[in-house]
Every structure is written in structure tokens, then in C-alpha cells.
Amino acid sequence: MDKILRIDVGAEGGPKATEEPLGEYAGLGGRALTSAIVSKEVPPLCHPLGEDNKLVIAPGLLSGTTAAMSGRLSVGCKSPLTGTIKEANAGGQAAQVLARLGYSAIVLEGKPKDDTLYKVFINKHGVKITPDNSLKMLGNYDLIDKLKGEYGDRIACISIGPAGEMRLSAASVACTDMELRPTRHAGRGGVGAVMGAKGIKVIVLDETGMRMRSPKNPKKFKEANKVWVEGLRKHPVTGESLPSYGTNVLTNIINEAGAYPTHNFMWGRFEGCSKISGETEAETETARGGEATHGCHRGCVIKCSGIYMNKDGHYLTKQPEYETVWAHGGNCGIDDLDSIAMLDRLDDDYGLDTIEMGATIGVAMEAGLAKFGDAEAAINMVKEVGKGTHLGRILGNGAAVTGKVFGVERVPVVKGQAMPAYDPRGVQGIGVTYATSTMGADHTAGYAIATNILKVGGYVDPLKPEGQIQLSRNLQIATAVIDTAGVCLFIAFAVLDQPDTFQALIDMVNAFYGLSMTADDMTELGKSVLKKERDFNTRAGFTAEHDRLPEYFKKESLPTHNLTFQVKDEELDTLFNW
């Protein structure tokens, strides 16, 4: 993993691939690499779908190794949804295979000469780029079936569906999972639209003949990986809750906390929540012959996913995650798991961010396009997006655009990106992250990593209100580190509670690269990523005024707790002071 593959899609005679050494980007991976390239090479004021934007696809520092949980792939660009810098990441097999093929990143750049659609094939012998208009407007599932026939099943694919081809701002980039299904998505921020604007439908990665990446110190690496795996397996969250119920285990709890956004963030509790909870979902999957415990890539020891079958016992989709079940479920007043699973399948097939689409349908329902709870109408709205009708193109551009078109004031977005499944009036600290994240409203920007172990930002007094700012800051720094290593964020709990497990992660990076990084070095790395992203956004015209929640969160109370968002603007403005 010592080179970058650049594909100039605007070259004479069609896209041309060149390889170059890492150069100044050496030592970076995942989000650190995508944000470094975008912040240095992309003019911040460029049009996100234009010639000057670049799509950077980068595996993490530990991807392609035997390190458990190292299968995250980062996708970065200037976002067509937010106008800010963007990093979205996904699981699946692509990061592992791309890393084993030796690439730290693929950079799609330039502007296509015409509307020809291309596929990129990469194996141990090199790169081949071929025009293939027969792939136009194929859904991700049909696309992958076609490619399997052509290239066999020892491949991993990075692709876009019709939404990406139509350059819709909610379009995702899909990665195939272990069963070669397009179920893992770099969903947020419209990264799929940028891939579509580059005229690339799919990147096929063939792992035939490739081996695991070798660490500089195999013995130490193996020892650290063993401690790492043991730590993940013994912790009740990573070893029991997530494998048993997936991330949707959160539904009952967030609902009980009164912070479960319902009917387009109108209320904090959903009456039908137990019908769509992780507990019910797991029971349903098992009863129908699916699976409630399943990994999304080889080397996953948590296995938080699953296989969801329809009523007839046939595969419908992977286990919809918490955010998806909330977005298409409670947020739209829908308490039918089968309908939610169908919406997840359609999103994956068209290549759409499930959070953005669920939030958008919630806004559309508030506008009167359908009644809350009408699952059939919700399914039809997503189908409109897939067909590219006028209504579909409005919806496919996200909640902010839909709210504007239909005159809705209550639109839950920050910097144009829809909020995830936690009402910021209930858990106000997450509202701080929504407001100040470099990515727009993003729940993973400030995840539960061991900030107390990292000691980023110093000691936080839990009794003082400013603790919310400090904690959010620390969490955002720590998350940037995890995104850079390319490990799954769901390791967070084990790392939080078990210092030896966190140390094992640092030890693995050190043993693999022959380094001697400390927790302080990791903190500095995280800070440097955020500084680059923040600097890009500033040059793109973003100011403190953009680091705000929508006005109605300060004016309308959340009924369950009778609370508005109370963190002051001047407090938010201190977040990046370190």
C-alpha cells in the first residue's frame, strides 16, 4: 500500500490511469488521506460536480492486514449535499482488497468528455478502464450480478446506482459484502453523485493472487491483534449486544430516553417502537431462516449485521441498521419491519443514503405528500427517485432541497445534511456535534472513543455545562483517528472501557509500520485531520454562522422533556479552540 492510482476521466481518448508514489501523503490512510488530498488539491469554491472536484477512495492504515475490524473504506470529496469537505465510510470487502492490491488511494479527477459510462477493473497485473454503456441506470444488485458473470466471484466492487448517475445529492457509493451483495454504503453527503459526475459506474477489484499485507514486526503485530480480538470478544457490547441485536438495539433505549425523533422530529417517542426494535428484528430474522449475527467483511469479530428475509423466506436485504430503521421507521411513523426492510433494499439498489432518504420522506410527509405511517407511500417515493421522475429528483436531493421546494420550515439539517436518529434537544451534547462537525449533521463525527484514555483536551468536569463542548471536541478528534486507522467505529465501547484494548490498537499500527506512536501522537493526528477539514470549509465560505442547528430546535420544545436546544452560540464557537 505504497502508491496512489489517479484516473483522469477527462483525458484524450478516454480515462487514463497513472500510478504515483505516496510522496507527501506517506503515513496517511483512510479519512486522514482523503481529507489531506481534498484539502490540498480541490479548490474549495469549485462546483462539487465539476472538473476540479476529486473523489478520493482510501482504505485505512490497517486495511488488508489480519487486524480484526480493519475493513472500513473512506470516500472523500467536496460534498454536493453540504458544500463542505466530506468523508463518508463503509464496510464490506473493498477496503481489504484495495489495500492488498497495493493502493493507498484511488483518485478520480477531471471531467468526462462525453456521457459514456466506464468500468474500472484492477487486479495484480494492473488497471483496465473500459467503456460500458450497457451498465447505464442499472441498480446496484443487477450491476453486481452482471459483473459476477463477467469477472467471477473473487472480486469486490465499489459502485453507484441510478442515483449516482443522476448526480443526486443523496447518492451513495456502494461496497460489496462477503456474499458479493452491494449492501455497504459510504452514504453521507452525496459522494455517489461525484462518482457519477466522473462517469465511473464501478470499480472492480480482483483479489486473485493477492496476499495479506505483511507487518514490519510480525510477532508484535500478531500479539497485539490477539489482545485486540480478545478485548472485543469479552466486552458486553462488542461481544454480546451488537452480535445479538445489531445497532438497532438502540431503538428501545433512545425511545425510552425520549430522544427518538418521531414524525419529522415532532416528538421524542414512537408508540410502535417495540415492533421495529433490534430485539424484534433479530427474532424476525431468525424465525424466517435469515441470520441475526453476520459480519460485513472478512476479519470482523463483532458481526453486528444480519440477513433479512421476506415473509416467504427469500433474501430481501441485509439487516437494516438502527439509523435506517429510525429514518424510514419512527421518523416517518412506520412500524412495519418488512416495509422498512424493503426501503433499505431500494436505497441500496438505487444507491441512496438511508438517513437522508428517511429524513427527506419525513419532510415530504410533513408537507402533505403522504400521511405519516403510510409505508406504501414511502416505498413509492423512493421508487420515484429510482425512476428519476421530477418528484424523485427533488426527493433524491435530500431533506433541505425537499423542504425548500414544498415550503416546509421544520427541516432537520445542518449545512444541508440531515440529522441522524437522536434528537439534539434530548441528548444536547450530540447537538453540539451536529452543529460543529466539519461534515454537516453527523452522528459518527463524535463517537464514543476513549477520550478519557487519550486525554485529548484534558480533564472534563462532568458537573459543568461547558463539558458538552469539551466532550464533543474530544470525541471529534478521537473519531478522526479511528477513521484514519480504517477500523470499524463499533470498536468504540471496548476501547472506551478497556485501556489494554485501546493500547492494542496503537500497538498494531506501530508493529505494522515499525513506528513508536503514543496516544499523544494519535491525538495530534486527529487534530491535524480536523484542522485541514476546517480550513477547507473556511476557504469554501463557511463561518461560525453555519455551525448552528435549525432555528426551530431553539424555539420548539421536545414534548417528552419539554426542552429546547440550550447550548449557546458563543459556546459552540469555542469548539475548535484548542
Binding site: H235, P236, V237, T238, E240, S241, L242, S244, Y245, T247, V249, L250, N252, I253, I254, E256, A257, G258, A259, S274, K275, S277, G278, E279, T280, E283, A287, C304, Y322, Y422, G426, V427, Q428, G429, I430, V432, T433, H443, G446, Y447, A448, N452, V460, P462, L463, K464, P465, G467, Q468, L471, S472, L475, F490, A492, F493, L496, T560, H561, L563, Q566
Partner: protein, 201 residues
């Protein structure tokens, strides 16, 4: 107390593998007659036979009337309270809601703050909800002891069960009389509460 006095008593003996089917009801919440006015720890450990070690280590997230709890020894259960219990949870918000969490400041506006303190113990009714890992670990015990369920929820539950479920029910009794599954489905269930007891065997 009268709200729990008038309902029918329903008794099931089912095959072992059908016990999880009843967990949906335990997520939605059930009612128990207890001595209220005590702390959460006293209610769970002294009255409901949960071990102190289990409460300390396994029950990581607790809500009292929708508010996350940090101190189980000071938070007091009152008549009509709803207590929800969960194991540890993933994600930032999962970590934030955990009792005594390092991240508790992120939800300080909704945290439970005890103002009344422990009160005179007296008989009362509380609602209990069990989530995730606690369903399979505590659920069978509560089902065996018996609990009170809202009739409408019970009716919805029965209607959702597949044929396999009914085939695995060895005994069904209503007020001491054996009944066929069809009879259960014919009952017009009201908003009253029914005493449900489920044994595996």
C-alpha cells in the same frame, strides 16, 4: 390497585424455544405489584431478587420515568413509575446514557435528579420494561412469576403469532380453565390488565 384486580388470569406452558416469543411483551412494558417508595437498587435486589452484582455489572442503563439514572441507591421508585432496564449499548448515545457515564454531561438536561428521597414503603404498581440481553436473562424469571399486561397489547401479540407458536403451546388456561388457542383469539380484549404467567416445559 383495582386496575390489576379485575383482569383474567392467563397461564401458558410452552416448549422452551417459544419463551422468546413473549419477549416482545416485556419490551413494551408490564406491571408489577411491589412496595414503592424504595430506591431502585432496593426494589430490584430486595423485592425482585436481582443480585447486586448483576445490577452493578450487567444492568448498565436504567431509566426512571424516561430519565437516565446515575445513582441506583438514591433514585426512588414512586407509585406509577416506569422503570426500564438495559445492558450496555453501542454508540456515543449508548455510552452517554449509561449510569454514571463519563459522557453523562452530554445528556445533563434530561438526567434524573432525585428530589424526594426514600419514602415510606407502601404497596403500589410500577411498570417495568426489559431490553436486549436482559430479556433472555431476566425475562423467563418474570414470566414464570407472573406479570400484568395490557389487554390490547396481549391481543395484538396473540394475533401476530404464527401457527408454529400455537402448536408449541402445551397448556393454555384462562382463569383456571383449559382453552383452545382459537378461544383466546376470540376474546374481546379491553384496555384492562391481565395476569400472565408462562412456564417452559
Amino acid at each position: 390497585m383495582s386496575v390489576l384486580s379485575s383482569g383474567k388470569k392467563i397461564f401458558f406452558t410452552v416448549e422452551d424455544n417459544l419463551i422468546p416469543n413473549f419477549f416482545l411483551l416485556l419490551q413494551q412494558g408490564f406491571k408489577l405489584k411491589v412496595l414503592v417508595g424504595s430506591s431502585i437498587s432496593s426494589l430490584l435486589c430486595d423485592q425482585l431478587s436481582v443480585s447486586p452484582e448483576y445490577l452493578e455489572e450487567r444492568i448498565q442503563t436504567i431509566f426512571l420515568d424516561g430519565k437516565p439514572i446515575d445513582d441506583v441507591n438514591s433514585a426512588t421508585v414512586k407509585p406509577g413509575s416506569t422503570l426500564a432496564l438495559s445492558a450496555a449499548l453501542p454508540g456515543l448515545v449508548g455510552a452517554t446514557l449509561r449510569k454514571g457515564s463519563y459522557y453523562a454531561p452530554l445528556r445533563s438536561q434530561i438526567s434524573h435528579r432525585e428530589t424526594d428521597g426514600t419514602q415510606f414503603l407502601h404497596e403500589g404498581i410500577v411498570s417495568l420494561k426489559l431490553f436486549n440481553l436482559l430479556l433472555k436473562e431476566l425475562g423467563p424469571k418474570f414470566l414464570k412469576q407472573g406479570l400484568w399486561i395490557n389487554g390490547r397489547e396481549l391481543s395484538d401479540f396473540f394475533k401476530r403469532q404464527p401457527d408454529d407458536f400455537w402448536a408449541g403451546c402445551k397448556v393454555i388456561e384462562v382463569d383456571g380453565q383449559k382453552v383452545a388457542p382459537e378461544r383466546l383469539l376470540e376474546i374481546t380484549w379491553q384496555e384492562e390488565y391481565f395476569f400472565l404467567q408462562v412456564l417452559a416445559g
